[in-house]
Symmetry: C5
Subunit: 322 residues, 5 copies
Amino acid sequence: MLINCVAYRNGQKIAEPPLTEISDFVSQPGTFVWVALKDASSDELQLMKEEFGLHELAVEDAHHGHQRPKVEEYGDSIFAVIHLVEIVEGDIHLGEVDIFVGRNYVLSVRNRSQQNFLGVRARCEREQHLLRLGSGFVFYALIDAIVDRYFPIVDALETELEEIEEQIFARGSARSNIERLYALKRKVQVLKHAVAPLLDAVGKLQGGGRVPLPCADMQVYFRDVYDHLTRINTSVDAIRDTINTAMQVNLSMVTIEEGEVNKRLAAWAGIFAVATAFAGIWGMNFEVMPELKWQYGYPAALLLIAVACGILYWRFRKSGWL
Amino acid sequence: MLINCVAYRNGQKIAEPPLTEISDFVSQPGTFVWVALKDASSDELQLMKEEFGLHELAVEDAHHGHQRPKVEEYGDSIFAVIHLVEIVEGDIHLGEVDIFVGRNYVLSVRNRSQQNFLGVRARCEREQHLLRLGSGFVFYALIDAIVDRYFPIVDALETELEEIEEQIFARGSARSNIERLYALKRKVQVLKHAVAPLLDAVGKLQGGGRVPLPCADMQVYFRDVYDHLTRINTSVDAIRDTINTAMQVNLSMVTIEEGEVNKRLAAWAGIFAVATAFAGIWGMNFEVMPELKWQYGYPAALLLIAVACGILYWRFRKSGWL
Amino acid sequence: MLINCVAYRNGQKIAEPPLTEISDFVSQPGTFVWVALKDASSDELQLMKEEFGLHELAVEDAHHGHQRPKVEEYGDSIFAVIHLVEIVEGDIHLGEVDIFVGRNYVLSVRNRSQQNFLGVRARCEREQHLLRLGSGFVFYALIDAIVDRYFPIVDALETELEEIEEQIFARGSARSNIERLYALKRKVQVLKHAVAPLLDAVGKLQGGGRVPLPCADMQVYFRDVYDHLTRINTSVDAIRDTINTAMQVNLSMVTIEEGEVNKRLAAWAGIFAVATAFAGIWGMNFEVMPELKWQYGYPAALLLIAVACGILYWRFRKSGWL
Amino acid sequence: MLINCVAYRNGQKIAEPPLTEISDFVSQPGTFVWVALKDASSDELQLMKEEFGLHELAVEDAHHGHQRPKVEEYGDSIFAVIHLVEIVEGDIHLGEVDIFVGRNYVLSVRNRSQQNFLGVRARCEREQHLLRLGSGFVFYALIDAIVDRYFPIVDALETELEEIEEQIFARGSARSNIERLYALKRKVQVLKHAVAPLLDAVGKLQGGGRVPLPCADMQVYFRDVYDHLTRINTSVDAIRDTINTAMQVNLSMVTIEEGEVNKRLAAWAGIFAVATAFAGIWGMNFEVMPELKWQYGYPAALLLIAVACGILYWRFRKSGWL
Amino acid sequence: MLINCVAYRNGQKIAEPPLTEISDFVSQPGTFVWVALKDASSDELQLMKEEFGLHELAVEDAHHGHQRPKVEEYGDSIFAVIHLVEIVEGDIHLGEVDIFVGRNYVLSVRNRSQQNFLGVRARCEREQHLLRLGSGFVFYALIDAIVDRYFPIVDALETELEEIEEQIFARGSARSNIERLYALKRKVQVLKHAVAPLLDAVGKLQGGGRVPLPCADMQVYFRDVYDHLTRINTSVDAIRDTINTAMQVNLSMVTIEEGEVNKRLAAWAGIFAVATAFAGIWGMNFEVMPELKWQYGYPAALLLIAVACGILYWRFRKSGWL
């Protein structure tokens, strides 16, 4: 589905050509065309392939979808796959945007996601001195916008982790803690798989070695994106690390709590066992058991039992079992 | 066992020579011979060695089998070992294909596997403009086909993992979970050992450094295979990671469940212990126990016992033990 | 908020210009201006950007704050972010200082921290032969001062760890140990995230490859900082490693203690169960139970019970259960 | 102790000189001497040092023994240490062979091992076209033979692991499993320490960078050894990984089994506690307990107790505890 | 404190100058001065700094002490920090030696350690052909001596580990095992921190890249030290790995033992519970309980109880619980 298709020259919009006339604009010097598609059909991709002269393997990847994040060079053009991550009602949702960048075109194909990039286009059109830098800047602006949207995801996961942490030393919450930690770990894994390969890919655009043509002279900008990604990646790793520790701690807490409960139960069981044993002895049927005949034998027996139990209770209390 | 042996020129089939005449075709310029063997005998390999001039060490490896995946250069030719992975009735099954690639020949020897590559040959013969690229393209097409067959294996393992995950927080399934996780881990290990070394090997074919001769100018294609392998490898690592976490979670669940059961049992034991202790006391044989003589002593005693047990029950219930 | 703004020439203070006249001094050869801000407002940063000609992306980072530690080059100038770590009442507190370094200026912006760098300025002004080295030396002096302040943090964390370690084999302290270890681990993580990226960043300044312009000829100094950071990093890793081991040991101790308690309880339960069983037998109502009629039946029975319990007690004692 | 000492020219044996005349042969062009010693004495090593002009540090290493596997260059010659691994009655046994290789000599010193290399010499003398390659080929043949002897060790360890795995889900075998896994892990560690450093060392001989002189033009052969070592190393790592998992699983099984036993015991305890409680009630001595006077009170009571116990039994059975 | 100060020329001692005249000797060609200090005071270091022209940062490091092991270049000279590790009465003790090496001087400053290097000096003076190699050889000889002293430490730790391992499957030793393993791990950590950074540092001296001036042409010697360090490092890693496994195994053993004890206790508890239940039934006060009137009712009852308990005992025995 076409979102929009605009031709720019010198940082200014000059036309909104229909898809079939794109190649006319692409061939004009100093002009570049920026097309945005959403859940593109096979026909649309085929048309784009012809208009822009895209590489077959790249178009196939965009058609199949479900690629891992990457930035690949095909001659003078770039094909990038980036994950779009959203949290919808507590569940993490994974979309994908495929970006083709050539010297004078940018084509973005967004799949399975409600996020749009109208804001990116608006910002680019506002800042004409930057848009004049051409397709490389648009590519940067798209990646930057996507990466910026990772931050609230990280924040949400960190908040969730903190909520769990508050419960981790609470009694009786072990089962729900472990379930929540496990669910959180799966979400973090999704984000990690979106971020880590992109970090590697953007690392190559930020300089050091040779930089693909459309991104030449943009290293400072991509380094900025790289820096953001590094920050996200570090946070994600910290969350993962903390989840692991929290799981281990949770297990320890379960064991400790069990031990406490066991002691308490055993203490009470001991107290009643003593009472029962005493009662059993005076319940024996020997003929000659003088105390049974005493006037105050019964209350004395009850008292003795109570005192024995009391001493036990007091000792258990003192040693912290009750 | 010979599957087929075909000579191609300019992307078109020109002959199906018998094995012993291969060398005549190999020596013709612009021609290449593509031979497919299955569970090749020692004699067949010897014949191939002579016809194609294969290196002794490579032939020895193909003869012994059970190699790890690799791509080796012998002068101008390549010797590759790739694992074929199938899931047969829940068990993972490991086959092997050995591929010899020279400037004008491709020899594939398939061992211990029911998978065949007839589809690859058909696809190559269909796409003549690609087959014209020569033996390097056939090599790519074979690897691509094998790697594509890893995807359903990954899917199957992921599905199996998800089935286990659904049981992981269910009560009473700890033993079967741990057995299934262990079995799954062994399967994943087999796939990992098929994928990881191949990833390294294909990484060298996709460019960056020097590329072996038959694969020159094919980097874009091998990068595509490399990308697929990376995706598979990432999935395999994610499965392994999740299995480890699931095992740990499973152990936690066992401990938690045990704790719950213990509390429950202890609670009931406590209730009965109280009843027994009371009954024991009134079972004592003291002569002066006035309540024993009361008209309603017995029902009162029963009531008292019931009330005591009831209070205990209510307290245990409130603290979540029952 | 402006802390101070001083112009230096030949290692000596020559003026304290107002912020708006900085550019006049910056343009004079052999002169450099050192400005220190604290929690700079947006306007102040904008002014600095104009006076020093700072890069937009760097100023944006300084404005947003919450960056990870890094040292970035923008043309001939450097932008560095360094974390300030304090321990306030047992909690770890994270501040940040952003440093812009050009050939003839140093601008430090300190955020969310009570630590100041007046001492650094005083030391630099004292050692004129070093201050003559220019902005690069000031940059070194700032980093060196910040890194030196990490050492007491490491010491505090090590002390805390040692206190926990002293409790780790003590009975009954498992719950507090695990809580303290967990809290300590979070603190160590904060320090780790301050140190590890800085280590990488300073590693690039200490030579080997190309060194950013303002730091040229300062490699020996930055190597010294790098060495300090490596020491801190090693200590932090050792603490983390020990925490992990201590957690594992703590879990073992819990399990061992539980086992000991269980044995003890079971031993006592056994002793009373024996008494109860004997008593129960003589409490049976059979008509012909000759021992019930004996003169000393009752004391004999009590003796027997006592002896049985005594033997049990002695055996449990011997096997270390009691 | 001298095993044998032979001089070769053009791939053919020309003499068996006494040790003291070796230097005469070494100096002849196109000739090389191959000496095999076993548990060499200090004097023998001193003699060899003089005859071949070996480096002092290398001879010292050979004299002390207990080196880790390595391949070191001393000028134009090579000094290699390789571990010999045998399994003797279930225990792993570690020997060592030190090999000195020069342009025209090979000296192997075998220590603390019953394995000999007579087969290697026989094979080399049989394949004269290879022996003609000189000392480098002999060096390859020795390493190849040693590495080949690692395979049965790996197989034995894998078999042992599989035997343990068959027991891992069996009830009541936890203690022996953990003991066997621990013992196996120690054995695997010995093999790992023999293989891993050798892998690195042979990696340098198989090309890529500069190759030590005696091994020049032998890269293809050393790559073959390297490939074998990689296979062994991968297997060893897989065994280690599986042992770790198996230990974890074993612990889980212990906990699960304990939980099952606990439930079972608690169930029976509950059933008897109910019977005891009922009996205790009718053992009370209240005067007015009408049911005690009933004709069929006793059988009714027994029936009631039986029914109560039966219901409990049935419920426990249903919930899988019995 | 000065240990000794000697000037050498051509491998021979020529004088023992007082510290203040060192610079006269240092300036003579072909001469080098070797000074050994112990726990040097601030003044001594200042004097050395002037006599040898040491770098300020290096002297500061030596003054502060507590550096991590390293080898740093300052122009043409080297500054090295190496840890001295001793085991005193079972505790590990950490000293430090700082070595300054220039073209014609060696200064070693030993801190907090009883180990001395008189043996090194004696060996050097004995082997004049090596001492002639100059300050680089002395530097090697010192490092070599220190590294050689690590071996007995490793042996002591291995012995301690083996002693623990012998106890690891013994019953009732879990608590002391875990305490000893924890203490051992701390000791190993100290050694690891002494060895690992030194390994990296010496790795740079053994060749490959550029080698600091005083060590030029000494690569073979430093490779020997490097090899020793690698061996030590590997041993240390193996010990650490084994400690981790042993801790895990110990936890398993605790759990297994607990399970065994639990079963045993539960079995005995069951046997007594049966006896108590039977006794309770015949202790009921029903009027019509015919068996109570039988002549041999009592012995029959005792027999029945004994048989019931016997059967239970036999069954528990068979299933291995008793």
